[in-house]
């Protein structure tokens, strides 16, 4: 009997074990400032390894782009029907990455999920730099880069007017609006922290932060206006983010190509964007946590919450993916069905199965607490998820071109060559370069919001 009681007691203890706190609530506010400001001064040496690797990777991309620019798109093996190649696949990938910042910042802000506070800043930065990287691919894939402005809707003297019925024009407007709004949102949310930097900096850095902090003194009027403005921009940013990736989806969905002409493409793209973005946030979370000594702020309980969120979104993406397969399989469009069969059995089949495995099976690792709380495992899993999402974009673009309406395209085996791979690698270098520079110059953990978080949690506890 006593054994049973002891066993029940132990079960009870396990069941009612207090949850680990997202953050140490007793942390002093001065320490928050010190820790975050220290990250601007003395990151771990790994920072320089990452930074220099990014510079090298970016250099490779620049060299490839210069060669392509001077010689022509032929060096990238772009030819009819494979006119987009890796460039547009990677463009979609970077646009997708940009959505997580909005999710973490705006949506969770509106939902009062305060665990986002230590990590949303770098997610917003990720949004901005992802968009800047995505924008490069619009230029890179053009045959005549110097005429890039043809895509922008403006009156001109050439007697050519942008085709407003084309989603490419909508794309330019939507991405331009999203980038502008994201930069504003990122900067505006940083103003109180820039004032903290101003107050502790000296020399030219003080001048730099003073200009950016626009006279912030933390007055009640400033805070009340700040709160309303931030909330308003957050509310405006959410529909904008959804519209951006919906419009990127319509680049494909409004075409007649088999495999693209699907009504579920916009929600599928948005889900995929949130999914890859969340996976990228996990990767960057782990990197920043170590590089900038943010173990006290980017804690394991917050990582767990991120993983749960990513898992939920991965299941939404899986569902929409299956819906797309089912609607094509049971639909009457023979060409679309053939394109689907080609993906699963043609020359790109390994990539297609890898995409489904990495996108729909690997995320189940996030369902296990033991794995979720193991940082190296989560690093590997997040990278695999992102690889899966990158392959997804490749599988959207390439097999459709390889198995379109014209039979002559069916025998055209196409793989990206080193120029394309070099430029794609360069884009990762460019992104990492910008991101690491941002984290070195600006506080990547929101100091005032972490203070708010611990303050309100202590109040609630009392």
């Amino acid at each position: 009997m006593s054994t049973v009681v002891e066993e029940l007691d132990s079960i009870g203890e396990r069941r009612f074990e207090p949850k680990a706190k997202d953050i140490n609530e007793d942390i002093a506010w001065a320490k928050i400032n010190t820790d975050v400001l220290r990250s601007l001064e003395r990151p771990r040496p790994i920072f320089w390894v990452i930074f220099l690797s990014a510079v090298a990777l970016f250099g490779v991309g620049v060299a490839c782009e210069i060669y392509q620019y001077k010689t022509g798109l032929g060096v990238a093996e772009l030819r009819n029907p494979h006119v987009w190649g890796l460039y547009i696949s990677t463009f979609i990938f970077w646009i997708g990455m940009s959505h997580s910042g909005t999710l973490l910042s705006a949506i969770l802000h509106i939902m009062h999920a305060d665990w986002r506070k230590p990590i949303y800043r770098f997610a917003e930065a990720m949004t901005t730099f992802s968009l800047m990287t995505a924008g490069l691919f619009v230029l890179v894939h053009l045959g005549r880069v110097w005429q890039f402005y043809y895509v922008v809707a403006y009156p001109n003297e050439r007697w050519t007017w942008p085709n407003f019925s084309s989603p490419l024009v909508w794309d330019a407007t939507a991405i331009g609006s999203y980038l502008t709004t994201s930069v504003i949102f990122l900067y505006f949310g940083m103003i109180p922290d820039l004032a903290i930097c101003r107050d502790s900096a000296t020399g030219f850095r003080r001048t730099f932060y003073r200009l950016l902090s626009v006279g912030w003194q933390g007055t009640d009027r400033q805070w009340s206006n700040f709160r309303i403005t931030y909330l308003t921009i957050a509310c405006l940013l959410i529909p904008l983010a959804v519209s951006v990736h919906s419009i990127v989806a319509t680049d494909f969905a409004v075409s007649q190509q088999p495999g693209w002409h699907t009504t579920s493409f916009p929600p599928y793209f948005v889900a995929g964007a949130l999914y890859s973005g969340c996976a990228a946030i996990i990767t960057l979370f782990i990197i920043l946590r170590h590089t900038f000594r943010f173990e006290e702020y980017m804690t394991i309980p917050i990582l767990e919450k991120l993983c749960k969120l990513t898992f939920a979104i991965s299941m939404v993406w899986t569902y929409l993916n299956l819906i797309e397969y089912a609607s094509t399989w049971y639909g009457t469009d023979v060409y679309a069905k053939q394109a689907l069969i080609y993906r699963a059995t043609g020359i790109y089949r390994y990539w297609w199965w890898a995409m489904n495995f990495l996108g729909s099976v690997v995320p189940f690792a996030l369902a296990f607490k033991a794995l979720r709380t193991h940082v190296p495992t989560m690093m590997v899993v997040s990278l695999l998820l992102n690889l899966g999402m990158w392959i997804e974009r490749f599988m959207i673009v390439t097999p459709t071109f390889a198995h379109g309406y014209y039979p002559w395209t069916w025998s055209d085996v196409w793989w990206p060559n080193w120029i394309q791979i070099g430029i794609v690698a360069g884009s990762f270098g460019w992104f990492t370069l910008l991101f690491m520079l941002f984290c070195k110059i600006f506080p990547s953990v929101s100091m005032y919001e972490v203070k708010e978080m611990v303050y309100h949690r202590i109040r609630a506890r009392k």
Binding site: F164, Q217, I228, T232
Partner: protein, 176 residues
């Protein structure tokens, strides 16, 4: 213009600051008005700021104006430009594709609303900024400041109130 003095007291926590503001409100001091009291804090604290009385925020009105202007002028601008330009290469008939224009209008509606919102906020901050005002870097760390602008005759009474609420430090700055 009357010569006014700035006085700022620093407190350790919001409770002490709230008590000090309540005491200022209850006291009847000649040459001092509650509208000249400003709370400076490292975090947003609406409850404490509410002790200062109603200070409405009008930012949303500007957001609305931006949204309405962005959507109407954006739509009209794109449509009228199309009607004027497309008639030239296409033989004189104005063409305005409404559904695509709605998509671009949607983006402009949000973008203009965001521009108006942030511009309004920055302008409001500029209007309320006071270069003669007092500031302490400890406010950006963990202290709460109460800034008062008052006639010199009221300063001693205000200082007494701050001291009664255990102000850590009182700063003073006489300005015209």
């Amino acid at each position: 213009m009357n010569k006014k003095t700035y006085l700022m007291a620093l407190f350790n926590d919001f409770d002490a600051a709230a008590r000090a503001i309540a005491s200022l409100r209850e006291a009847t001091i000649a040459g001092f008005a509650m509208k000249d009291v400003t709370l400076k804090s490292p975090i947003d604290h609406p409850e404490c700021a509410a002790e200062l009385g109603s200070r409405p925020v009008y930012i949303q009105i500007f957001s609305l104006i931006g949204a309405v202007l962005g959507s109407t002028l954006g739509f009209l601008g794109i449509s009228s430009a199309q009607a004027n330009f497309l008639r030239q290469p296409r033989g004189g008939f104005p063409i305005v594709p409404l559904p695509p224009n709605m998509v671009i209008t949607y983006e402009l509606f949000i973008l203009t609303a965001v521009f108006f919102t942030i511009t309004a906020c920055l302008v409001v901050w500029k209007i309320h900024s006071d270069k003669n005002s007092l500031y302490s870097v400890s406010i950006s760390v963990d202290k709460i400041g109460i800034l008062v602008k008052a006639e010199p005759s009221a300063i001693d009474a205000i200082k007494q109130i701050f001291n009664r609420q255990h102000a850590l430090e009182i700063m003073e700055n006489a300005r015209v």
